[in-house]
């Protein structure tokens, strides 16, 4: 039964990790738009500031394909 000395703390730590991960997702607003999140996961590229379709970076990328 000495194995309990490792296993019990290990189980607890794993559980706490799960809880911490959940609280992190909650704090980063990941439950605010569940419908949108489902779609964003399959969208091809990131949308963000400074990423205009006609920017040189895009031209380079499409040229490389």
């Amino acid at each position: 039964m000495e194995v309990l000395i490792y296993l019990v703390p290990l189980a607890l730590v794993l559980g706490l990790l799960g809880l911490a991960a959940f609280l992190w997702t909650l704090n980063s607003n990941q439950y605010d738009d569940l419908d949108g999140a489902a779609w964003r996961a399959i969208s091809d590229d990131e949308i963000g500031p400074g990423r205009r379709p006609n920017s040189p970076e895009d031209t380079l990328r499409s040229g490389a394909q």
């Binding site: 039964m1 019990v8 809880l19 609280l23 439950y31 738009d33 419908d35 205009r52 379709p53």
Partner: protein, 725 residues
């Protein structure tokens, strides 16, 4: 020029704005809008929320005019309306988030404690040593105590509030159960006992929090959509500053401001006409369908429609206070007098708590009297409290509510208030307003059959060039899509154009030189409004009448067959109301009523013991909406009516009213059934507990079993829709 600065929030060099979106339905739209906005320079954040149909934008302060953002979205093929997030909404959002955090903590604790408990249960029947059991129990305590202290907060707070106000709610027995179970478990663990109830208390919290979270988030979602609808009917007014015209949100208009109102626009503020003459459509305010003349010096009220001419108005009240004073006063009084409805859950708790707590006490004394030790008696008494399971009772109603509110949402009914569902279920009398409620907000062409299709089509296309409400109704009725070229509008008279060398005119009979035809049409349709059309030498006159909602006859008939008493209370003229009442075969109707008269009629019905649902849309209906037991408004209703209504229904049909009544009745039945299921469960579990046979294993099995049973039964509340369609 438009001025949206009222909606912009500034924060350390970053400007932000929230917008409600129209026409967004899928991922493609989300990507298109976000990408399109990032193409504007200086936009630093653009995030569409697909669930709530909203957009949050941020940009470098001063770099972009907020109107550019709205225009950009219009270019992309959507419509966006800035809105002011109500304070209530952010509080609710924070509460939902708190519930979810509590649920996470409780679920974590429940899983881990259950892991330890299962080991103890199986160890108890095999080879666990007392030291190992104690270790597992202390470990459970280490997890369960802080977790319950955190995750139990929603219940403890609510119970404390109820006790301070000297009444009980469902959270009182829940809190007592959880605290006693934890206390007993610590005591037992201290005395190296075989049984502890840490798992029961965290599991109870987990189940209840799950129910509460679902309930809360469903309600938040409907509330968000309702707020969007209000924003979509964008309240902008044209302010005159010097010689410049500025589109400004109504909320930013102050007394003394000059406002320009074009024909076909709604007047946004109470004020006095200082320039121009026109006719005013008061139907949203008084329910009266005949137009009133407006000339300089006349007082005009917000919510009314400017029909024919250009008006300059000086605002006399700030937009927020811009309501008919009398209506406002009546509304407040009616809301105060609305009997406090006591919710089913609280009534159940009022019965449940004393019965269970007395039983537990009697059990304690009973075992003492039979010579049992104080310790054993207390353990058994507390196990009675744990097994009687506020769990099933605590889920019985929220579970049904989640299902029913979701079904209503899909049927086009948005609930404004949490207890509206239960109040709807008890209704036996339905009172309708006429204009805009039984009838559609726009009039229809009554004599379309007498006019040849080509003329109708041409007139409809010409009508697209006018902002007159009747012209708009004509264009809509004909389904005209491509406007004629070179249309000239003559304010107060009509529009004209030239096609194939022939002049076209649409407007007053004088304007089109069609007196004779107008007289003929007026003879056939005495209460109709008319506009005339001329094409070369040919003339046509269109008669416009209020049109019943397409399914009004079916729905009213259905409600009558279902045994509801129906009545029409209207502010319109007697003939107009009599006509509608007879075509719907509603016998009880009243015409020409003032807002105070409407309240008096509703109060009389309530005094006679009836439960009244009021369905209305006008400013004049708002007080009676508040005075009725429960109320509904169509989405086309005035702000004030929507704010007073318990529920809003979407679309041109009346069907959502019938669906809401049916679904709520069904939901109420399922709630009652669920409460009975909880009672039956207790009737079986209680004797077992009193006899002292309950172990933590039995408690856990009973708790999950009853919760699943109640939740599964709740799913039946949505079946009404399937039966309906």
């Amino acid at each position: 020029m438009r001025d949206f600065s009222h909606f912009v929030k500034h924060n350390a060099g970053v400007a932000g704005m929230d917008l409600a979106l129209e026409g967004v339905s899928c991922a493609g739209c989300v990507a298109k809008i976000e990408r399109g906005l990032f193409e504007l320079h200086d936009v630093t954040k653009a995030r569409v929320n697909l669930t709530e149909r909203r957009l949050a934008v941020e940009w470098t302060d001063g770099a972009i005019d907020p109107a550019e953002i709205v225009d950009r979205i219009t270019q992309l093929g959507y419509r966006a309306h800035p809105y002011e997030a109500a304070g209530v909404e952010s509080v609710e959002a924070e509460e939902t988030r708190f519930l979810l955090r509590c649920l996470g903590v409780a679920a974590f604790a429940a899983m881990n404690v259950m892991l330890l408990s299962v080991s103890v249960w199986s160890g108890n029947v095999s080879d666990i040593s007392p030291e190992q059991r104690d270790f597992f129990h202390w470990l459970s305590a280490l997890i369960a105590l802080p977790a319950s202290a955190y995750a139990g907060q929603p219940f403890f707070r609510s119970a404390w509030r109820a006790l301070k106000a000297r009444h009980t709610n469902m959270d009182v027995p829940i809190s007592i159960g959880v605290i006693l179970a934890l206390g007993l478990s610590v005591f037992e663990t201290w005395h190296h006992a075989e049984h502890a109830y840490f798992d029961a208390s965290v599991m109870l919290l987990t189940f209840l929090l799950a129910g509460r979270y679902l309930d809360q988030s469903m309600r938040r979602r409907t509330a968000a959509i309702a707020t969007n609808l209000a924003a979509l009917r964008a309240d902008m007014a044209t302010k005159i500053i010097g010689d410049e015209l500025v589109e400004s949100p109504v909320a930013a208009i102050a007394p003394g401001d000059l406002v320009l109102v074009r024909p076909g626009e709604r007047i946004a503020v109470d004020g006095v006409v200082v320039g121009g003459t026109s006719e005013i459509d008061n139907s949203l305010v008084t329910g009266e369908t005949a137009y009133l003349a407006a000339r300089p010096g006349a007082a005009v009220f917000s919510g009314t429609l400017n029909v024919s001419g250009l008006l300059r108005i000086e605002a006399t009240k700030p937009a927020s206070g811009s309501l008919l004073d009398e209506i406002d006063k009546l509304l407040r009084k009616a809301t105060d007098e609305r009997t406090r409805y006591i919710r089913l859950a609280d009534r159940a708790a009022g019965l449940y708590a004393p019965v269970v707590h007395t039983t537990a006490l009697l059990t304690l004394f009973g075992w003492l009297a039979f010579g049992s030790s104080l310790h054993d008696s207390i353990v058994i008494a507390i196990s009675v409290l744990i097994i009687t399971c506020p769990c099933a009772l605590g889920l019985a109603i929220p579970a049904v509510q989640v299902v029913a509110v979701g079904a209503l949402f899909r049927a086009g009914v948005l609930l404004n208030r949490g207890d509206a569902l239960e109040r709807l279920a008890t209704v036996d009398t339905v009172v309708f307003d006429k204009t805009g409620t039984l009838t559609l907000p726009e009039p229809e062409v009554a004599n379309a059959a007498d006019i040849d299709a080509q003329t109708l089509q041409l007139a409809g296309r010409l009508a697209l060039g006018s902002r007159h409400p009747l012209a708009a109704a004509l264009a809509k009725a004909v389904g005209a899509r491509d406007p004629l070229p070179a249309v000239v509008e003559e304010a107060g008279r009509g529009v004209r154009s030239v096609v194939d060398g022939k002049p076209l005119k649409l407007g007053s009979p004088q304007f089109c030189d069609a007196h004779q035809q107008a007289a003929e049409v007026n003879a056939t349709w005495p209460d109709a409004s008319v506009i005339a059309f001329s094409h070369g030498k040919s003339r046509a006159v269109f008669a416009f009448r209020q049109r019943l909602r397409p399914d009004a006859t079916t729905i009213i008939g259905g409600l009558q067959r279902a045994g509801y008493r129906l009545a029409i209370l209207s502010g319109d003229r007697t003939e107009a109301v009599a006509d509608v009442a007879s075509s719907l075969s509603v016998e009880a109707w009243q015409a020409g009523l003032s807002p105070a008269d409407k309240i008096a009629h509703i109060e009389a019905m309530r005094r006679a013991g009836h439960r009244v649902l009021m369905v209305g849309d006008g400013l004049n209906d708002a007080p009676s909406l508040a005075a009725a037991d429960v109320s509904m408004s169509p989405v086309s209703a005035t702000h004030l009516a929507q704010a007073a209504a318990d529920a809003i229904f979407l679309g041109d049909n009346l069907a959502p009213v019938a669906t809401a009544l049916e679904l709520s009745r069904r939901a109420f039945r399922v709630m009652t059934q669920n409460l009975w299921l909880a009672v039956i469960y207790n009737a079986i579990a209680l004797p077992v507990a009193i006899a002292g046979f309950v172990t933590p294993l039995i408690a856990a099995a009973a708790m999950s079993g009853s919760s699943i049973l109640v939740t599964a039964n709740a799913l039946r509340a949505r079946a009404a829709r399937a039966a309906n369609s």
